[in-house]
């Protein structure tokens, strides 16, 4: 459990609101102007503050690595990514403290204009599939079926790897495929150059 400012605001709003509401339910005051105002705070203002900051905190939580790893079929991904001895692409990137706590989201989010929404809608689909199909599957069964929906877009890698660093350009394949790589016609991982991102899923 980690409490950031938004979580604290959400909890404070909930406590303030609960105090007012419990007073109202227990004391049963007359509906005069004071009561109306108190209830405006207890049913309106404070809960809205709680919902706003709580939603934000919840949204942030959904980007968290542990959140992604909380369904059992994702635990091998999480374990490999956080394994300090793993040489998988996900593990290498997860070790970076800047985005490691949210490494799954960093690599798997859609970065278009409505990227966060699109990503979370996709996540809802995953939850739905989990509840309807994968909940009772063993890891071995799930492994055979879980695969990436669309080829992994190289644009996601290019958010950080610009394709213009000198050492990068020295690599023969990079130089030869520069146009295709920048146009997103050739990917970084699916083609077998980098990766596997998650060695576990590629082992027989």
């Amino acid at each position: 459990m980690h409490l950031d400012a938004f979580a604290v605001i959400a909890l404070a709003g909930a406590i303030a609101s609960a105090l007012i509401l419990i007073w109202y339910l227990v004391a049963r005051p007359q509906l005069n102007r004071v009561t109306k105002l108190a209830l405006l705070l207890g049913i309106g203002v404070f809960p809205i503050a709680t919902a706003g900051s709580g939603n934000y905190a919840g949204f942030e939580a959904t980007k968290h690595r542990e959140f992604c790893g909380s369904c059992h079929v994702m635990t091998p991904y999480l374990e490999d990514a956080t394994d300090p001895t793993s040489t998988g692409l996900a593990a290498i990137h997860t070790r970076n403290a800047q985005f490691g706590e949210e490494s799954c989201y960093t690599c798997h989010a859609d970065y278009g204009m409505f990227g966060t929404i699109v990503t979370k809608m996709g996540g809802m689909r995953h939850v739905y599939l989990y509840l309807t199909e994968f909940r009772n599957k063993t890891l071995a069964e799930a492994k055979a079926e879980i695969h990436i929906l669309r080829p992994f877009p190289s644009s996601t890698c290019r958010r950080c790897h610009t394709t213009s660093a000198p050492k990068w350009s020295e690599v023969g394949d990079h130089a030869a495929l520069l146009k295709e790589l920048r146009a997103g016609e050739v990917g970084c991982v699916g083609e077998g150059c980098h990766g596997p991102a998650h060695p576990w899923s590629k082992q027989p």
């Binding site: 207890g42 049913i43 709680t50 919902a51 939580a61 959904t62 959140f67």
Partner: protein, 103 residues
Amino acid sequence: MNKWLRASAVLTLVALAMMVWSVLRPTPLPVMLAMSLGQAVGTAAFGIYGWVVLADLRRIRRDAKRAQELGLAEAAVEAPAAEAAVEAPAAEAAATKPPEPGS
């Protein structure tokens, strides 16, 4: 009326419980519950509050108007003043028995 407000208060507490749960344990079930059902219940509760209070304000205004028609034409009772009168301790009495003309 007060029954509805009590229901609204209880619904708000239910919605808040879901939100607090999601903040303290940010795992898929509580987070999704808070962001869907929690929002819906909380919004419904606030809707009930708004509806009850609006109805009550309308009643106050209607009572004031009736008081005016009952012989207070010159006194020109304004809505806010009438509301204050209604909400005085003798609220019910004031609503049915208008103040003396010219007072």
